[in-house]
Symmetry: C2
Amino acid sequence: MRWLRRLGLILTLPVLLIAVLALYVGVKWALHSQDDDPVRIASKASYLRMVAQGAVSQSGTERPNVLILFYDDLGYGDFGFTGSRAIKTPNIDALAAAGTVLTNFHSASPVCSPARAALLTGRLPLRAGMPQVVYPSGQAIQLINILGETNTRLPLEEITLADVLKADGYRTGMVGKWHLGDAAPSLPNRMGFDSFFGALHSNDMHPFALWRNDRIEVADPADQDSLDRRYTDEALRFLAAGGADKRPFFLYFAHNFPHEPLHAAPADRGKSAAGLYGDVVERLDRGVGEIVAALKAGGQFDNTIIILTSDNGPWFEGSPGMARGRKGQTFEGGMRVPFLVHWPKSLVGGRSLPDQAMGNDLFPTLLDWLAIPLPVDRKIDGQSLRPLLAGEPQPPRITYYYSGKQLMAVSDGRYKYHDRQPILYTLSNGTWALPFPKGPWLFDLSIDPDESYDIAMLRPADAARLKAALDARRVEDRDNPRGWR
Amino acid sequence: MRWLRRLGLILTLPVLLIAVLALYVGVKWALHSQDDDPVRIASKASYLRMVAQGAVSQSGTERPNVLILFYDDLGYGDFGFTGSRAIKTPNIDALAAAGTVLTNFHSASPVCSPARAALLTGRLPLRAGMPQVVYPSGQAIQLINILGETNTRLPLEEITLADVLKADGYRTGMVGKWHLGDAAPSLPNRMGFDSFFGALHSNDMHPFALWRNDRIEVADPADQDSLDRRYTDEALRFLAAGGADKRPFFLYFAHNFPHEPLHAAPADRGKSAAGLYGDVVERLDRGVGEIVAALKAGGQFDNTIIILTSDNGPWFEGSPGMARGRKGQTFEGGMRVPFLVHWPKSLVGGRSLPDQAMGNDLFPTLLDWLAIPLPVDRKIDGQSLRPLLAGEPQPPRITYYYSGKQLMAVSDGRYKYHDRQPILYTLSNGTWALPFPKGPWLFDLSIDPDESYDIAMLRPADAARLKAALDARRVEDRDNPRGWR
């Protein structure tokens, strides 16, 4: 028995260590809270009632349809109109040529869920309560959200574009990837969409099932070779379903591709000079061609606002368009994304504008076009692009670059100020990877598009001005992270 | 006493763990061996005697001077002639315009020491016995070399360009950064250089002293604000020192800049639109201007071969020229570097060639121009660029991309095959960094310059052909790592 007692003593330290760790995780898990503020949920409801009342008075006017094409991990350089020499996207390029392209458009986040939350709410991810990627419920990887103290689903009090357009009398539909929580009540049908078909998260997460509204229609693992066909057909069906219904439509088509793993139908494979990634993107382009054809056939093309963009820069494949960094990073390659808007009836086409804009601008822009007032109980970070797209000069503005809850950089369009941050240095063979703290850095994007030359000492006034903007925003984030008024 | 015994038992496991670790390191350290092969040292000596005998018979001809300008961590996009919009380098651009530029030139390694070993020996770093960066003697960081089982200095049997040119009757000098070991006998004077002034390693390593031959002339920490001035003056002094001496010269000017930390004299600061990094590079350019002026004044400009390049891609600052990756990586941004050769007397100028070439080609190229036979006791990886630079088409060749001892990728100039390897994914705020194993990947550099689209499945024959070349080289490396014949 003596050796047993000795063994016990020898194991004391490791056992203690594991116990402390388990306790820490347990306490974190137990204390983890999901934002769902009853007061704000009530003010959201009253805002939406107000929108609905306004809609009745407008019911005579011919409101435009709205179609958002949102791709996953698609890089700035992956389209013909953004310079790809390897991928052919004639249908998307045609929309770009006949529409307006913004060349300095950023997603609101370098990763999935936050970018989506910002696009749908008009608020930067921290304010929308969704600063981090959300992981599938009940899986060990969800510890990232628990330990990061972030919501695991979009808080119910957030007002989505679908909520507003639905209240305004739109027929609202979503096809594709939600990724704003896989648990009730934060599911698409509860967040403004009349209909939903798609996945609750990324196509590399499990279980990967396809849902129709609140039920699984295609069980895990859903076949991904046919995913684009299925999604495109669903989108076409949604467009056709209008029929006698005279309401305008809002379709949020948030594709799972070209996020890894890449899949294409056999007939679509081996065609692109850019390999399977190119096959996938070229297939997306053909899907756009089918949708455009359907809109034209239905006489809806002229008065449909088509907006096309991506949620962040490319991951391991895909081109950041000659910029520094990729998905997950606040360098341009992580957040600058392609953007086009096409609306023949009301927007001059054939333009390419260098002005700053961000994914969270779409919410206020659409509300502006539809003459719907913004909610007043919360700060909306996005700015309406209506004046810019109508040909007016855009007043100075600041672009914020967040990584998780942390504000990493700010830019006025020309100068970009990176706060001191860990930059990773690694050898290809993985032998070592040390995050070096670097910065602060000031880059002049006009002559240094790949963020290679720090000019903080050369332009101290610009550095100080942008640092002040960054500091001020951090104070706001600390005092009122969700941006309530 | 009982609590003491208990405490002892509780600490057993950690103490054991530390002891095992210490033992492992100790054994590694004790068993660490430095290559210095007496047989090969002897055959090196006989080769150099043979060169010296050949030199006597040639003493009548007017042999060209050789000047290699080698910069540290300077990126592909950091010069005017390689596309910089932020940095002005008129003197270097003038050499490029009047000389020949190679746009597909790679350093032999994405890091310092191996790149230097390859440049001076004509052999890829593994064969030159220098696959890893070497760290200062006796410091804890040297464990990287010990545990990596690599030499801590260039093996004495290696034949450097300086050895050969000295034997051929050249006056040989080195100014700048050695970084091929900081301990005798592998120091510059023993490795072929009549004179040496500079540092034994990078300017971020300690102690940073400046040596004249085998003595410290400027004690640690040497002032780096005046480093460029000092180096340029030393280079000018070396050029002037010829005087009555009718021998041609070989000057290896291996600058410490623009490697971090960046320093410039007060008069040189605040001038470049690219900040301090730009100030440093523009100052390097002015140094080149001074050297060119001196060569012209001495009537040597026409028959001096000036070669200008870098040891690897840029680190945290500096532009990789719109390529993927940076220093340390086998993506193009880590290894593609600027290159120009200027030799009015014998080379047509005003050319820009897209052909493959590598740092280790300089040794065989110079020997070819000087009609000196290559050593036969060892494999020389580099290929003479004489035919290419004389206007002949270059036969197909393979570029090898090593990281440490590991061959990571091969390219035929158009297609690049990356073997399966860990690619780092990280968020800017450093919250996580997981190396994902990725690949194998085949890139078509002709339409995909930032290595974004894997086409291994689209071009299986090219993938297989290049994989075969990679596998064959790995077998060679395993069976005969140092490439002895």
